[in-house]
């Protein structure tokens, strides 16, 4: 048994992401003195906070061998529900509770079709991506709802603990909780087994349906929370809140090394991917590279993330062949 050396550790996907991240931060820091300031980094996070929060729970969904395409539409539906009931005269506090409940209901509805009816999550959540978005647009048309209480608008911006606003604290809390769930809890262990080999889990007495249902309900709830945070940050609600976010979110998770086939991946990988994506976008923005080009660069990074294991295996084969011939 050989010990894991520094090189071995770098050979993992997380190690590679870490290198890329360090490189990005160095480049960015060299190009502009403002980059490494606390306020710039927090600002970076703030601009994408809803996506990165949902990326955390999406990590669990994909490790479980499923996918949830409806997250962004649930964000939209929760935000518009919030705006609509608020406009109807209910207090903002209760409106938040109702919006979160809507998220749970959406998640439970997905869970029913996936866990009990056995329909592939790709199909169910694709349908719900359309349906939930439809409801959102019916509730609040393109006018938008504004004039929320001041405390609500400040939720998204005002620092409440040191320099951190509420949304970032939620992110850190969720990060720690999900890290512990995946690394230490029985639930997390079962999650990996189901993603890795569902039949083995079932034959071992694991309640596969219940775990899948829990994950989709959690995904609905957290998406709803993200939707409300989005409304608070921009100070208004429209039917098109979060359109297309699901693709960015899934991109981050896959870039973080979570296998689309389930069973492998870590929260650490997702967090590294989040930092890379944010820093890449920020760096490119500072270097005056347009948004479309930034998106293109991300796409290439994603393809790389899928190809790295293949390239590494090919490299190892080549290495063995070379050694075999000379030795």
């Amino acid at each position: 048994m050989k010990g894991s050396t520094f090189i071995d550790r770098l050979a993992t996907w997380e190690g590679f992401l870490f290198l890329v991240l360090v490189l990005l931060i160095l480049l960015n820091a060299l190009s502009t003195p403002f980059f490494l300031t606390v306020s710039n980094q927090i600002n970076l996070f703030q601009l994408s906070i809803e996506k990165v929060i949902v990326a955390l729970i999406m990590t669990l969904v994909i490790i479980n061998g499923e996918i949830d395409l409806s997250v962004a539409s649930i964000m939209g539906l929760a935000a518009t529900t919030f705006g609509w009931v608020f406009q109807a005269g209910i207090s903002a506090e209760w409106a938040i509770v109702i919006a979160l409940t809507i998220g749970i209901i959406c998640g439970a509805f997905n869970a029913f079709w996936i866990a009990w009816a056995g329909i592939p999550s790709l199909v169910v959540t694709l349908a719900m991506l359309i349906a939930y978005r439809g409801f959102a647009r019916v509730l609040v048309e393109d006018r938008g709802i504004t004039d929320f209480p001041e405390w609500f608008d400040s939720l998204g911006q005002a620092p409440i603990l040191g320099p951190f606003p509420l949304s970032m604290l939620i992110f850190f809390t969720l990060l720690v909780v999900l890290f512990v769930v995946l690394q230490r809890s029985a639930f997390g262990r079962k999650l990996y087994f189901i993603g890795s080999n569902r039949d083995v889990a079932e034959y071992s007495g694991v309640n596969v349906r219940r775990i899948k249902a829990t994950i989709f309900i959690a995904s609905g709830l957290i998406s709803a929370l993200a939707g409300i945070l989005f409304a608070a940050r921009v100070g208004s609600v429209r039917g098109d809140i979060g359109v297309g976010f699901e693709l960015d979110i899934i991109t981050i998770v896959l870039l973080g090394g979570v296998s689309i086939f389930g069973g492998t991946g870590t929260i650490t990988g997702t967090v590294l991917a989040i930092l890379i994506v944010l820093n890449l976008r920020n760096g490119m923005a500072l270097a005056n590279i347009t948004g479309h080009l930034q998106t293109g660069a991300l796409g290439i990074l994603l393809i790389l993330s899928v190809m790295v294991p293949t390239i590494r295996d090919a490299g190892q084969r080549l290495w063995r062949t070379v050694r075999g011939e000379t030795g």
Partner: protein, 501 residues
């Protein structure tokens, strides 16, 4: 005797340490039906795969029409006029019959002439002496009709050698009749048919010649008239290893732990009744597909029965899921390690503790990793699992060690009743002996054990009692000593002759 169309000469093929084919020879003559028989694992499937270019032989030669050939792909075998049909027909369900028949015809014009296609298809089907509408989608046909389509496909390619691998396994009596009709029509047309079946009565009805193979070796080839069913069975099982798996004296057995009465599940098994005592090793013998695994899956809550009663320690129980089975102290070690047994990408420890994971958790649901490593370590010593690091993925271990991990996983649930399906499939002799030792130790500790095994020497060396299943039914039972290779095999293949009480 006419010149053979296909000869396999001294073919050898090994997978790792297993010699699947050992200098095996067979030759097929046009216009004959040649039966190939042998136990499960005798190497029949490997032989077909070598014939069809799926595997390449390590040694030996394939001769077609007197010329030596090599098949690197199935296409090359087909080009040499070889075709094979299998137990499960391979048709494209959404294409119609005619399209399925002509799917492999490459040299066709760019545009399909549908009328000609259907006419040709009808003609080919008619040659087989059956009627199937060439316009029906293949998915709407019965299994037997799909098989006919497969045969028609082979004929349309002018196959001169047709390999039929267990073609009757999922057919009704009436459909088997029709299949025989087709086989005879092919013989009359000069095709060499290689007919592989477990059912000896069929072999004796249809075949002209029979070849027996055992452990990858050729045992005998004789005209059917020169051999009896008794003799074939003896040659199938005849081993020179009588002393190697000596029966152990049966342990003291205790009270009845499991009582099953009139258990049935449509399409799988029918009216099954038996009991198992504490400390007893009961073996289910029979051929693959006889319904043995289905009975185990019913007891484990995977595929609950339609009818019947299950009692554990005198209490009637309903077992609706593996979790419920576990609560009753039932564990099932699957025959399919890769797909159902252990998750290869997960660690050895995680695999061992999975069924009992919740018992390693505190109130917060966090796993006590120290306790779980300690238990995994105990099993490493007790079962002699050779793994440098229990935190390595289980897929990095050898097959025998994976098998022990799978056993450890279920022993960790402290079962009262252990169902073990093919306990030693695909592992080497040394690991096999160790698995047998583990099973005997468990029985000595009072665990009731049901073993499903197609490995007759294994059954005979482990069992206190043997139940033989055929086609979903119990067809016989033997008390320890009274079971012999031949008596069990007779019942399993349904050969006429001695049956035992």
């Amino acid at each position: 005797m006419t010149a053979p169309v296909l000869e396999m000469r001294e073919i050898s093929k090994a997978f790792g340490n297993t010699r699947a084919l050992d200098a095996f020879s067979i030759s097929l003559e046009p216009g004959t039906i040649h039966a190939l028989v042998g136990e499960n694992g005798a190497g029949k499937s490997t032989l077909i795969k070598v014939m069809m270019g799926i595997h390449q032989p390590d040694a030996g030669s394939i001769v077609v029409d007197g010329r030596e050939v090599t098949f690197r792909t199935t296409q090359e075998a087909q080009a040499a006029a070889l075709a094979a049909i299998y137990q499960e027909p391979m048709v494209f369900p959404d294409l119609d019959v005619a399209e399925n028949i002509f799917i492999n015809h490459h040299a066709r014009p760019a545009f399909v002439r549908w009328r000609a296609l259907y006419d040709e298809a009808s003609a080919v089907i008619k040659r087989l002496g059956v009627s199937v509408d060439p316009r029906r989608p293949a998915g709407s046909l019965t299994l037997a009709e799909q098989q006919t389509v497969e045969i028609a496909r082979a004929i349309s390619l002018d196959a001169r050698v047709l390999i039929m691998d267990e073609p009757s396994a999922s057919l009704s009596d009436h459909e088997v009749r029709r299949l025989f009709g087709i086989a005879r029509a092919l013989r009359a047309a000069g095709v060499a048919v290689l007919y592989i079946s477990h059912r000896l009565e069929e072999v004796f009805e249809i075949a002209d010649t029979v070849t027996v193979m055992r452990d990858g070796k050729h045992v005998s080839t004789r005209p059917i008239a020169d051999i009896t069913e008794e003799r074939v069975v003896a040659e199938m099982v005849g081993r020179d290893m009588q002393g190697r798996f000596k029966r152990m004296p049966s342990a003291q057995t205790g009270d009845v732990l499991l009582r099953v009465e009139g258990l049935s599940r449509a399409g799988a098994f029918h009216d099954v009744s038996f009991t198992v005592r504490k400390g007893e090793i009961l073996c289910f013998s029979g051929l693959v597909g006889a319904g043995r695994t289905d009975v185990a899956l019913a007891l484990f809550g995977i595929a609950p029965p339609d009818h019947g009663r299950i009692e554990i320690a005198g209490q009637p129980v309903t077992i609706s899921s593996p979790a419920v089975a576990q609560r009753h102290g039932i564990a099932y070690v699957s025959e399919d390690r890769r797909k159902l047994g252990i998750a290869m990408a997960e660690t050895v420890t995680a695999n061992i503790t999975l069924p009992m994971l919740d018992s390693y958790c505190g109130p917060l649901g966090l796993v006590d990793k120290r306790a779980e490593s300690a238990d995994a370590d105990t099993f490493r010593e007790r079962l002699d699992i050779r793994a440098a690091d229990l935190n390595m993925p289980v897929g990095t271990l050898s097959g025998g060690n994976q098998q022990k991990v799978m056993l450890a996983k279920w022993l960790n649930t402290k079962p009262r009743l252990l169902l073990v399906d093919e306990p030693t499939r695909g592992i080497d002799i040394g690991a096999k002996a160790e698995v047998h030792r583990i099973i005997r130790d468990l029985a000595a500790q009072g665990v009731a054990i049901v073993i499903i095994s197609s490995d007759l020497p294994e059954v005979l060396s482990l069992a206190d009692r043997v139940i033989v299943m055929r086609e979903g039914r119990f067809v016989g039972e033997f008390q320890g000593e009274s079971a012999t290779d031949e008596s069990v095999m007779h019942l399993a293949v349904g050969a006429a002759g001695r049956g035992a009480a």
